[in-house]
């Protein structure tokens, strides 16, 4: 029964989970209410399954996922920190979960105040005064940031065409640049892992609209030249964009606004612990400096004094003539805001600084453990400095000495019940392994990871085939990805309808229903 069976294949004619509410209005024939041209001729071929079997199906599926509540998940750049269970409780309060997005502000004061408080907290953390919570994820925030840059320059009568991105940049950065109608200009990386200043100077010209930077960058290194970088970019009239995916390293220590950035996005699903959900939801609020503020999306959540002067009130400001408009519907992923706000309340200012300190401590400890004999010679560190919240190793040693690839290491880790690091990113490191333990991991988990790594490398020295054919203990083994892309099967083909239970569903209306 734990074979791969889709919900469609579990379908049997006449089964159901849903019982319709009573029809309390006239049962007018559908034909009278909907003209022919508007009517579906055949029901959509959804599965027919009882509640017990739906539950079993998805519960059983869920158990094929590795997940953060199960074990160590050092996926670099993804900040897989613990998701406190409290957050699900507060997000589910009816006042949050059941609030319509178009409820009048007068009757959504709690929601608006929460958003306002979150904006204020994010502004303080990033050192930039104006926040829009609207973008749906990090890359959406990036796009908003570049559209703001465009609006800012347009407002000044400038037309710029290029955006600089370091070669260490996350893929969303260049992809965003293209979507925002700019041309990508790559900037190189210096020997210390930071931006190559000479290259930057060479490429920074009047056509440059923006430099997008992650600091610490995707190598886990803080760029000490950040002020000079800012000067160069600002010098040619560009804006400086902070990809906040790595903010977890520097909260309370250093703020993008103080580093000279104009625009920042936050990944609430990373730094502020919205659960990842297997690929979202997230939220990508942005913060900006005064000069960018006029262009922020509508609506903005603002504080007003209430008409009778009694206490603050909150409102949605749609009247922003220079605004870039809307990045999406309504006010953003409010449910995510609730969780991240709860997180900030739980930790407080000092707690957030501790988050960063411990994230950095954990990363450096694990880095030290992975530099030990028996590991370090196979996985040399790409740039040997103290790292921030993450670090990047190269699988080059293992490739040369053991003839196994980073991919093999990752797959063999699966058999050790830990999630592998991010692999083959950043691109400039050969056979990269990008490791981010986060602050919520105890020392034992870090040690277990290092031990597993040592063990699998020793094993590969004996018999590399084990790693090359790994994983061996997972629900499925290595999958044919090339084949999947060549002959894509992206939906289930219309099934032959399975027979029902003769003598069962027909005579027993409730039999088919969810209650049974």
């Amino acid at each position: 029964m734990s074979d791969t069976v889709t919900i469609f294949e579990r379908s049997r004619e006449g089964r159901r989970a849903f019982t319709p509410p009573r029809t309390d209005v006239p049962e007018t024939p559908v034909e009278e209410l909907l003209p022919d041209w508007a009517r579906r001729s055949q029901p959509a071929d959804l599965p027919e399954v009882s509640e017990p079997e739906i539950v079993r199906h998805y519960v059983t599926l869920s158990r094929k996922n590795f997940h953060l509540d199960q074990g160590f998940y050092p996926l670099g750049s993804c900040t897989m920190k613990h998701n406190p269970k409290l957050h699900e409780r507060v997000a589910a309060l009816p006042g949050h979960a059941r609030l319509h997005p178009l409820q009048e502000p007068a009757h959504a004061q709690g929601a608006l105040e929460l958003m306002y408080n979150l904006q204020e907290a994010l502004a303080e953390i990033a050192g930039l005064p104006h926040v829009s919570l609207q973008p749906s994820a990090g890359s959406h925030g990036e796009l908003a940031g570049l559209l703001l840059t465009r609006a800012y320059h347009a407002d000044r009568g400038e037309h710029r065409t290029k955006v600089l991105t370091p070669d260490t940049a996350h893929g969303t950065n260049p992809a965003t640049v293209t979507m925002a109608g700019y041309e990508v200009v790559k900037v190189g990386t210096a020997d210390d892992g930071g931006v190559d200043l000479e290259d930057l100077r060479a490429k920074a010209d009047d056509d440059v609209a923006c430099l997008m930077l992650t600091n610490p960058n995707t190598l886990g290194l803080f760029d000490s030249n950040i002020e000079e970088i800012a000067e160069i970019v600002h010098g040619v009239g560009g804006t400086l964009y902070y990809d906040g995916a790595n903010l977890n390293a520097v909260m309370g220590v250093s703020r993008p606004g103080d580093m000279g950035f104009d625009i920042v996005h936050y990944n609430l699903h990373k730094t502020f612990t919205q659960p990842h959900g297997g690929g979202g939801p997230g939220a990508g609020p942005i913060a900006v400096s005064d000069r960018i503020e006029p262009f922020l999306p509508v609506p903005q959540v603002v504080r007003t004094s209430s008409s009778n002067g009694a206490g603050p009130a909150f409102d949605l400001d749609h009247d922003r003539p220079k605004s870039i408009g809307k990045m999406r519907g309504f006010q953003g992923n409010f449910g995510v805001f609730v969780r991240s706000y709860a997180y900030i309340c739980s930790l407080g200012g000092d707690g957030l600084r501790e988050v960063s300190e411990l994230a950095v401590l954990n990363a450096n400890y694990l880095k030290a453990r992975l530099a030990e004999d028996g590991i370090g010679e196979y996985l040399p560190i790409a740039f040997d400095r103290h790292c921030m919240h993450e670090f990047v190793l190269s699988g080059s040693g293992a490739k040369d000495k053991l003839d196994i690839k980073t991919l093999d290491i990752a797959k063999r880790l699966l058999d050790h019940e830990v999630h592998p690091p991010t692999v083959y990113f950043p691109l400039l490191v050969d056979e990269a392994l990008m490791i981010e333990p986060t602050e919520t991991e105890p020392k034992e988990r870090l040690d277990h990871f290092a031990d597993a790594m040592r063990e699998l490398l020793a094993e590969a020295a004996e018999d590399p085939e084990i790693a090359r054919t790994a994983p061996h203990t997972t629900p499925v083994r290595r999958l044919d990805e090339a084949g999947a892309a060549k002959r894509p099967v992206v939906r289930q083909s219309r099934r032959d309808v399975n027979p029902g239970d003769p003598g069962r569903a027909q005579d027993h209306p409730a039999a088919a229903s969810g209650a049974l």
Binding site: V25, W37, D45, V55, T172, G279, M327, N333, R478
Partner: protein, 432 residues
Amino acid sequence: MLDAIGVGSVEDLFEAIPESVRLGRPIDLPGGMAEQEVLDHLAELAARNRHADAEITFLGAGMYDHYVPALIDNLVERSEFLTPYTPYQPEISQGGLQVMFEFQTMISELTGLPVSNASVYEGPSAVAAAGYLAKLETRRSKLLTSRGMHPHSRAALATHAVGYGMEIVEVPLDSNGVTDAEALAAAVDDDTAAVFVQYPNFLGTVEDLASLGEAAKSTGALFVCAADPLPLGILKPPGECGVDICVGEGQTLGNRLDFGGPSFGFFAASERFLRKMPGRIAGETRDVDGKRGFVLTLQTREQHIRREKATHNICTSQALNALAGTAYLSWLGREGLVELSTLMLRRTAYAREGLPFEPINPGPVVREFAVRVPELDAFLERAREAGINPGLPLRGVLPEYEDGLLVAITERRTKEQIDALAAVASRTEVPA
């Protein structure tokens, strides 16, 4: 741990950060709180929101008060679904990947289009994503949008189009609140990359997609439909009406209102767009032992592989919300979806008839309709007093309908509640 690292203090690890960019003071935020204190604080805030159980609400306009079955709560709160990242390691992510595959199949069934991705952010930005695809596909410069599109969709499309450099031209609604077919035909030209129509449109009318599509496609433009997936249970699927791309807001499928998000957007299209679609796509394949399995496929479309050449920049999407949608559609099932849509259809017809107001859009409607309410403000006030939120006044978003009110009827609204609304309405009609 510090010994193993070889430093004396955590502070030493931050040495790369110049003094000049250090904060140098504590973060200026209140101190941390106990769990119960956080709960109390957020509960106090939540209590100041009038939510959909605290009034009888006829608010819709893009998100709707549908019943979310309890099994969804249970599934989305399972750590196994809640806490993993995007399934980059398919061997240990078969649960999430198979859900995506099932989701894609269901969206494909609803829209009548052969391929679907595994979700995008939400409705209006999905519309913008369709615009970008039209640009990539046609290299043309103009997008035509019906004024019957959700105002947020039109706004998001405009905002994004500034980036990818396209002009937007609006096609008006006719006097019956449906897209003006003649104006559309007149506006379509060789520069038109795509034509956007909503189904049912923002006022609730079921547009005659097939007819509009003919005009739209006459010069080779793409025909894009933004659809609400739930009424598609009884409506002719966009794929059968010449639609090339169907996108939409998925909140109506098993997602909470959540003051507007998170929910999910969907993106379905004709086969030929498969390699240009945005976002994750799960595909079926086999493992080395021949066992069936699923992977993220066609990743050469995506930012992490193709970077500046990607067909979209989306990365984190809305997987958990799409799971809710998948479980919801399984729960409704083949017959249930029809029954539910039919119930909405009938209750909506009953409500439109029962309200003493002139319809703005007299055409076929499934779950929502617009009416003209004389003395709108007085009516709104009376309704509120009766514990009823009668719907969305249109003046804020479509000023041309100054006295317009958009009323949504889901399966949560009983005849009794509709009658209560009608009673308030009748009282307003005859000022005392």
